[in-house]
């Protein structure tokens, strides 16, 4: 009777220890998975920033904006909207808006870098088409 009780106790202890260990493992792995997701998002945001900055520079300074965008791989989606898909992971969407101002034609743009439907980063940029006016 005493031996059976002892054997049951050992089995219960073993099961409890295993359960505790499993819980601890799941918690630790969960934490690392969370950290991995944060690290991955950091990498994506890093790339998104580089793409958005690059797009902003091109809009600000390219002599022929449409030609420059096409050379970089941007494709027109609709009037004033350009899309660039550097790889399967990210997509850059550029929405341009042209208006006449006192110093000439102002082209302003909104850059969105997206991962599937999620917007990772948004940035604004502008260019004056008549640079002579600005620098005079």
């Amino acid at each position: 009777m005493k031996q059976r009780f002892s054997s049951h106790t050992t089995l219960i202890e073993l099961a409890a220890a295993l359960l505790c260990f499993l819980l601890a493992s799941v918690t630790v792995l969960g934490l690392f998975s969370k950290a991995y997701t944060i690290s991955r998002n950091g990498r994506l945001l890093n790339r998104a920033t580089i793409f958005a900055q690059d797009c902003a520079e091109v809009v600000a300074g390219a002599a022929d904006l449409e030609e420059a965008l096409q050379q970089l791989g941007y494709e027109p989606v609709e009037d004033g909207v350009w899309r660039y898909r550097p790889d399967a992971e990210l997509m850059v969407l550029l929405r341009l808006n042209t208006e006449q101002t006192e110093v000439g034609s102002l082209v302003s743009g909104k850059i969105s870098v997206m991962r599937e439907e999620e917007v990772l980063l948004e940035m604004e940029t502008a260019r004056y088409n008549n640079k002579e006016v600005i620098h005079s």
Binding site: E13, L14, A17, F21, A24, S25, V28, L29, F32, A35, Y36, S39, R40, G42, R43, N46, T49, I50, Q53, D54, E57, V58, A60, G61, A62, A63, A68, K131, I134, H135
Partner: protein
């Protein structure tokens, strides 16, 4: 006894798995920081020196290799000084010196960040810079010269 051995074995496995994940995460974070630093540094340097005729690209022979050097000129007390950005010995380097002083060795510049290759091209008022990072990944960025002056090659 068996319970303790099992516990130790599984704990060691968990620690090994955790340290592997930690190493991978810190490596990614470090690579991200290096990429952001190299790209941001060069873009901001060009913006800071953006003036008519102040930005040019040269090819200089360093350690037997033709190296792209992004040269940014400025005038101080009537003398022309240059800030030169180039890649040598696995790093992006910067040299600030008098314009008359030639760039002769890789060690003439201060190490900024680790970088495998650095290519610069100028077309009109647009500079295209390609960074090849130590992990083999490349980033190409454009920098617009807003001064109205064109870069020189």
């Amino acid at each position: 006894m068996m319970l303790i051995l099992m516990f130790v074995g599984l704990s060691v496995a968990l620690i090994a798995l955790g340290s592997q994940a930690y190493r991978s995460i810190t490596k990614t974070a470090e690579e991200n920081a290096q990429k952001r630093t190299s790209v941001g540094y060069v873009v901001n340097r060009v913006h800071a020196f953006d003036a008519k005729g102040a930005v040019r690209v040269e090819e200089v022979e360093l350690e037997g290799q033709l190296t792209d050097v992004l040269t940014l000129a400025e005038w101080i007390d009537g003398e022309c000084y240059e800030t030169r950005l180039f890649c040598a010995d696995g790093s992006l380097r910067e040299q600030f010196t008098h314009a008359q002083t030639p760039l002769e060795t890789a060690y003439d510049g201060e190490k900024i960040v680790e970088l495998a290759e650095f290519e610069v091209e100028i077309a009109g008022s647009m500079i295209q810079v390609t960074f090849t990072h130590p992990d083999g990944a490349t980033d190409t960025v454009h920098v617009a010269l807003r001064s109205g002056g064109e870069g020189q090659k």
